[in-house]
């Protein structure tokens, strides 16, 4: 119902919404600027972290996600490292 009304009144237009791209790109950019970590350094760090974890578990390197996050002025390195099937179930170390 709403969508028909929207279409009738021309509220919904084609395109749009690119500001969300701008915002999310900016947030990542500013975090990297603030901690002064280049994408290359970040890549190197990621690979070293994985090497450590890989000594203990079998890591699914394709699906690894290591990034910076900010919550209330605190910047953190957040990683999600999926492990390959170990005991018949998938497990994740965070």
């Amino acid at each position: 119902m709403m969508s028909i009304l929207d279409r009738f009144f021309g509220t919904v237009r084609g395109g749009g919404g690119s500001k969300e791209d701008a915002k999310s790109r900016l947030k990542v950019l500013l975090l990297h600027d603030q901690v002064d970590l280049s994408p290359q350094q970040m890549e190197a760090m990621k690979s070293e972290i994985l090497d450590v974890i890989a000594r203990y578990c079998e890591v699914d390197r394709q699906r690894v996600d290591v990034r910076l996050e900010k919550a209330e002025d605190q910047v953190s390195v957040v990683s999600s490292v999926p492990l390959r099937r170990v005991t018949g179930r998938a497990a994740t170390v965070s």
């Binding site: 929207d6 009144f9 509220t11 395109g15 919404g17 500001k19 701008a22 900016l26 600027d33």
Partner: protein, 272 residues
Amino acid sequence: MSECIVITSGKGGVGKTTTTANLGVALAMMGKRVAVVDADIGLRNLDVILGLENRIVYDLVHVIEGECRLRQALIKDKRLDNLCLLPAAQTRDKNAVGPEQMRNLVAQLKADFDYVLIDCPAGIEQGFKNSIAGADRAIIVTTPEVSAIRDADRIIGLVEAAELPEPTLIVNRFRAKMVKRGDMMNKDDILEILAIPLVGMVPDHEEVIVSANKGTPAAFDEKSVVGEAYRRIARRLTGEQDVPFVATEEPDTVWTAMKRWFGLAPAKEVVG
């Protein structure tokens, strides 16, 4: 009590010079004695935006090197006799001046003017350091774009490292229509990222080009929306509280008003 405000941005081309010229005009129209200083040595532009380019005899570097007195280099605006421009040198580079000399120059200007506005060059090198040296506070100009906001964030850090008080923000080239369809960051998006107080929003408008062509800043024009936005920023700078933001959209058509009434069109985006 006089105050020196530096207008800076990091990124070039976001409207620092236009902002400096318009705030200078708007403050002078309020009866304040204002000196605008072009600190972009080697690439002067403030004279052109103000339409005073044909009257330059001496410049900032002449004053600093003692070749003339400060009063000889100041160009009095004939439209507003309490507005003066100190132009930059066009044939020298940023290293012709140092922070200590700028501090002395600003101190001299503050003796004769209520407001000293410094038009900072783009970048974070010598010209930026000179520009903030004598300033009591900073205004950061940005546009609603990723690159401009990134640079603004960097500049905010540098301003704070220089122990100036928390800077305030002007968002320039704002387009209400693009914001409405989600293709431009709005006021809240930008403030969420930069987290400094907003002192004004200036719409992106053809008037800015026309006034630059003529050498007559929009703030002179009582009917201009851009001029009105700058005049309101000037009022906020002088400490006036609760200056309302101005709506920049064209008035509602019957159709839009009806949509708004049904809740099918978003609330009016206001700037000013």
